[in-house]
Symmetry: C2
Subunit: 243 residues, 2 copies
Amino acid sequence: MGTKNTELSCGNCALSRICLPANLSARETRILAGAVERGRELCTGARLIRAGTRMDALYVVRSGSAKSCGVLKDGEEYVRAFNLPGEVAGLEGFANGHHTSDLVALEPLRYCRISIGRLERMMETLPGLRREMLRLLGQSLEDTQRMRIEVSMVDARGRLASFLVDLSRRLERRNLSPTHFRLSMSRRDIARHLGLTLETVSRALGAFRRAGWVEVKARHIKLLRPDMLSGISFQNGGSRALL
Amino acid sequence: MGTKNTELSCGNCALSRICLPANLSARETRILAGAVERGRELCTGARLIRAGTRMDALYVVRSGSAKSCGVLKDGEEYVRAFNLPGEVAGLEGFANGHHTSDLVALEPLRYCRISIGRLERMMETLPGLRREMLRLLGQSLEDTQRMRIEVSMVDARGRLASFLVDLSRRLERRNLSPTHFRLSMSRRDIARHLGLTLETVSRALGAFRRAGWVEVKARHIKLLRPDMLSGISFQNGGSRALL
DNA sequence: CGGCGTGTTGATTATGGTCAAGTTCTGTGG
DNA sequence: CCACAGAACTTGACCATAATCAACACGCCG
């Protein structure tokens, strides 16, 4: 009653089961929430993190999506990752306290911010938060290592299939349709992320469409045969999947 | 004087400037050392970590070298990383408490072991250790992400050059010759790590030899023109290096 | 010395990159 | 509402890189 009625906080956020507090106790979540600042909405193309700057906070996507990307010396763009709501970005900054990639909004984006200083202070007293940070970093490392193997061992279609299946699962966890969604990133972004050219991504999508596995209309995609996509993907079912 | 004369401990280990204690205070190092168990020597091919097992400890290479690897469904082997003395292995196990790859000795190997339980308890009271664990995980993540981009954007020779230059630098940090060393891994392991075939690795090495950049005799290698290798590598100098 | 695992080299092929031409989509202004 | 411009995307023709298949050389073990 005394509390400010329906103020947004981690405790009543729709993402709490996916986001940082997922494995924290109610008490720890409450303390964490006190350190979370909610940013205003950014528009498409805005840079939330800039490569080279000091890492002074962790950023979590609250709505919309983003890409973690940068540019090589010769002007080629690379895309390290795409971030959906509830996902923490910029963890690699822990390496030396500076960001190495940009974080760019792919559509209107809302986000939360947690200062590193406050995070470190909270880690002193919250064992659950300590464990969760290790888990989060470990998971990012595991995911990235798996993707590195995938890029080096799987062909273009397999990689695109993996990408779609992975995206589908992540959307499903967020209670969005796993079969009918909009790609917030361009073909070029997908290509840069998978180590392909945009032409190859386009051709692979065309092949899936002709096979009757997907329906594609611009950036709207419908997975008609997710089983078939899984079948040739790396993550699951494909002949090259991990044991 | 009262201490057990020349007993090996993190404080007097030759690797202390490279290993986990690198950024810890003397006091923190002493406490950490109390939790470190030194393993007996393993012979080539021995498995220190087995995929699928519970992650109950962190392992650090003390001497020799190891590969973090596994097998895909179709029997293809992949190699996630090579580990030199002072490097911590198996960090991705923090993701869900289980290892996802094997750790295999490439030559006679000595190692240190730190129980996860004791590590977590020490993190409660040692802020430097907390920070160091985040730094370590962040660095692994950054390295792996960079390598993922490299595998997807750089050609065979560039990747091999990067590999050699990176190895050279890591050996140099350990006060070993950065130009004249022995490859403890087979061509096949290198290929699997770089996403190539062993034939391509062999050919690329041959090209470097013909260009007068390296001398190769079986697994002994001498870098005659590290500058040229750097020049075509991803990490540094190459036209595709990060800004 | 002989045999096998490891590595090198060659010939051929296939996958995806490059270059180029067109098509669709989106947003803007008349 | 439609016309237009520019970006995003698709499709095709050709080519280059590295995979595949195969034969052979080397070196280390007994």
